[in-house]
């Protein structure tokens, strides 16, 4: 507990809280401006990068070293929440670049924890789909460079169920034949997503009545589930323990790679559009190298190599067009067009109202 005691007086946390209170619900961009000095020798800088485990090619550090001469150390985080805790607990977390979902980049920007890019140092931003600049968590791509994007749907075993799922209802009010063989994501916003969409609400709703109705549905669904699972549901599909799961599109691909009977569908009620992004921390002393790293990732051949490796879609037009069309045949989600993806609702940071969703998740899983 002594460690916790130390954080209690952290000026940054108090300041962040105060900023957010004043923003109250909505988030404003309070990101600091980055000053990139083009004359700095970036090979003298070292980068600490926090990314999800298994969300990057393993030989990335070696490739970066060879291409731009910067030593990078990658630390892994399991969830957005975990890395947010690390980044906001102190003034300098020691991390230069963090990979976080769009809505968390939005929250970090409103807390002034990350920088607005010096876009002259990242010319490869031009390779991104123009639609990316309209994504509501960061209009204009000012402080977050998208790394991967996708949606959430139902990942299922076509050989073990006798119908073709096309609705969130198939997950939330399952037929008897699949009862006890379904899983849902446990991360708060995605735990709520199927219920919100089935009931016709926005996944960013902060209306107390709508959240209460969603909770009612989710509590009703809980006894029909095999488990809440964010990380291993595709292995449950492969073994046949589960036959129908709520899944992020890329995770489903790890199942498809092992069993082609596994299929992915976006339910007809609609879903989300999430983007995982790279942000540069204000506390970083290696901003020049950080910008060079992001620019390197956004290079078409590099971003295509990443997509091939992690089987997630990348929002990079040039990179996506260079991908082998066979990939989209094996993994149908890789063939989704930006227009199809943009039908999904962009996940937004809800500021202090985020608590409504954490309370919802706590109460549903404890019920």
């Amino acid at each position: 507990m002594t460690k916790v005691g130390k954080y209690k007086f952290s000026a940054a946390v108090v300041a962040a809280g105060a900023l957010l209170l004043s923003a109250c619900g909505g988030s404003s961009n309070n990101a600091t401006s980055a000053s990139v000095d083009p004359n700095v020798d970036i090979t003298t800088q070292k980068l600490v990068i926090s990314n999800w485990a298994g969300y990057y090619p393993e030989d990335l550090p070696a490739k970066v070293k060879a291409a731009i001469g910067v030593d990078i150390t990658i630390t892994n985080h399991a969830t957005n929440e975990e890395v947010m805790g690390k980044l906001t607990a102190s003034d300098d977390s020691g991390v230069d670049i963090a990979f976080v979902s769009g809505q968390y980049a939005q929250a970090l920007a409103s807390a002034g924890k990350i920088v607005n890019f010096d876009k002259s140092a990242i010319p490869n931003l031009a390779n991104l789909y123009p639609e990316v600049a309209d994504l509501a968590y960061d209009k204009g791509t000012n402080y977050s460079a998208p790394y991967a994007w996708g949606t959430t749907g139902i990942c299922y075993r076509s050989d073990l169920i006798d119908f073709t799922p096309d609705s969130w209802n198939d997950l939330l009010n399952p037929k008897d034949s699949v009862k006890g063989k379904t899983t849902m994501l446990a991360t708060e916003r995605w735990l709520a997503l199927p219920a919100m969409k089935l009931l016709g609400y926005s996944m960013n709703t902060t209306n107390a009545d709508e959240i209460a109705k969603a909770k009612e549905q989710l509590v009703k669904t809980k006894p029909t589930l095999l488990a809440y699972d964010d990380t291993a549901f595709y292995t449950k599909l492969v073994s046949g323990e589960a036959v129908l799961t709520e899944a992020w599109d890329g995770w489903c691909n790890y199942g498809i790679a092992e069993n082609p009977n596994i299929k992915f569908v976006i339910p007809k009620e609609g879903s989300d559009l999430w983007a995982d992004t790279m942000v540069v921390l204000s506390s970083s002393k290696n901003k020049e190298a950080a910008h060079a790293f992001i620019n390197y990732i956004l290079q078409p051949d590099v971003h295509a190599w990443v997509a091939n490796n992690i089987l997630y879609k990348v929002p990079n037009k040039a990179a996506t067009e260079s991908l082998d069309p066979a990939l989209a045949t094996s993994y149908p989600n890789m063939g989704l067009t930006p227009a199809e993806l943009l039908k999904g609702e962009v996940v937004l940071d809800l500021g202090t109202d985020s608590k409504l969703y954490t309370d919802l998740a706590t109460e549903v899983t404890s019920s």
């Binding site: 946390v13 809280g17 957010l20 947010m84 980044l87 488990a227 046949g240 323990e241 608590k355 998740a361």
Partner: protein, 253 residues
């Protein structure tokens, strides 16, 4: 913890003023009371099951020759050196619907539909019993080992049956060991959150999960601290109860 639990949660963890007692009234919400009762029940069942397996095992070991005693004690401690996650994952492989036990039962024709064992409270109890069994066996063995062999022999000489000498001599004298064993198993079981998550499939929520989730997922440190405080209070009460009963037993003996 008390101080933390009366503060207000910061947006990304951390705490702010003002001070209030809302968390305590929220913690007495029926959902959370249910979680606490459920945790006590699961930890209690784990302790009892460990005792039922642990006492006969310890008794058996204590009656062997010195050489075999050492061999068996080492055999009990040795698996304990394996990472406990690995040992818990082993139960996933054993218990799941397509797992070894269900496949075996189906192949010999005993059942035609898999028995649902994994992701139930039962799986959590079995997993934790396996995890903490040595903590039950060792103190009971130590207590039984200290009993003067002449006492049991005297009981036999005076006409006691094996069962009666066990009931009137061995069990009372081993009581301090049994109590320590119960506490050793109950305490870590009550706070465990990994086993409920892995073997309970996130559906069996225990108080340890609540504490962990409030800190790491919900980033509501004050509410997490409230549950940690409740957990600590339960344990303090139990341990003082144990030392009190233990003293009484020693005086009587």
């Amino acid at each position: 913890m008390l101080f933390m639990s009366v503060l207000t949660a910061g947006r990304f963890g951390g705490v702010n003023t003002p001070i209030n007692f809302d968390n305590f009234s929220r913690a007495t919400d029926s959902i959370f009371v249910q979680v606490i009762l459920n945790s006590l029940l699961i930890a209690g069942a784990t302790a009892i099951l460990s005792l039922l397996i642990g006492f006969p095992t310890a008794l058996f070991i204590s009656r062997l020759s010195r050489k075999w005693q050492i061999i068996l004690i080492v055999a009990i401690i040795l698996p304990y050196w394996t990472n406990f996650l690995v040992r818990t994952y082993a139960w996933l492989v054993l218990l799941n619907n397509e797992g070894i036990i269900n496949k075996f039962l189906r192949n010999i024709g005993l059942i035609d539909k898999p028995i649902e064992m994994l992701y139930t409270s039962g799986a959590v109890i079995v997993g934790m019993t396996y995890l903490y069994l040595p903590l039950m066996i060792l103190p009971i063995y130590a207590a039984l080992e200290k009993i003067d062999k002449n006492l049991t022999e005297a009981a036999y000489d005076l006409g006691s049956s094996a069962w009666k000498s066990l009931r009137t001599v061995s069990i009372p004298l081993a009581m301090p060991g049994i109590l320590i064993g119960l506490i050793f198993v109950f305490v870590p079981s009550l706070g465990n959150f990994v086993v409920p998550e892995l073997l309970g499939g996130g559906k069996t929520v225990m108080i340890g999960n609540l504490v962990r989730d409030q800190f790491l997922k919900a980033r509501d440190w004050p509410f997490g601290a409230t549950f940690a405080l409740i957990l600590t209070l339960i344990l303090v009460i139990l341990i003082s109860l144990q030392s009190y009963v233990s003293k009484r037993v020693n005086i009587n003996a």
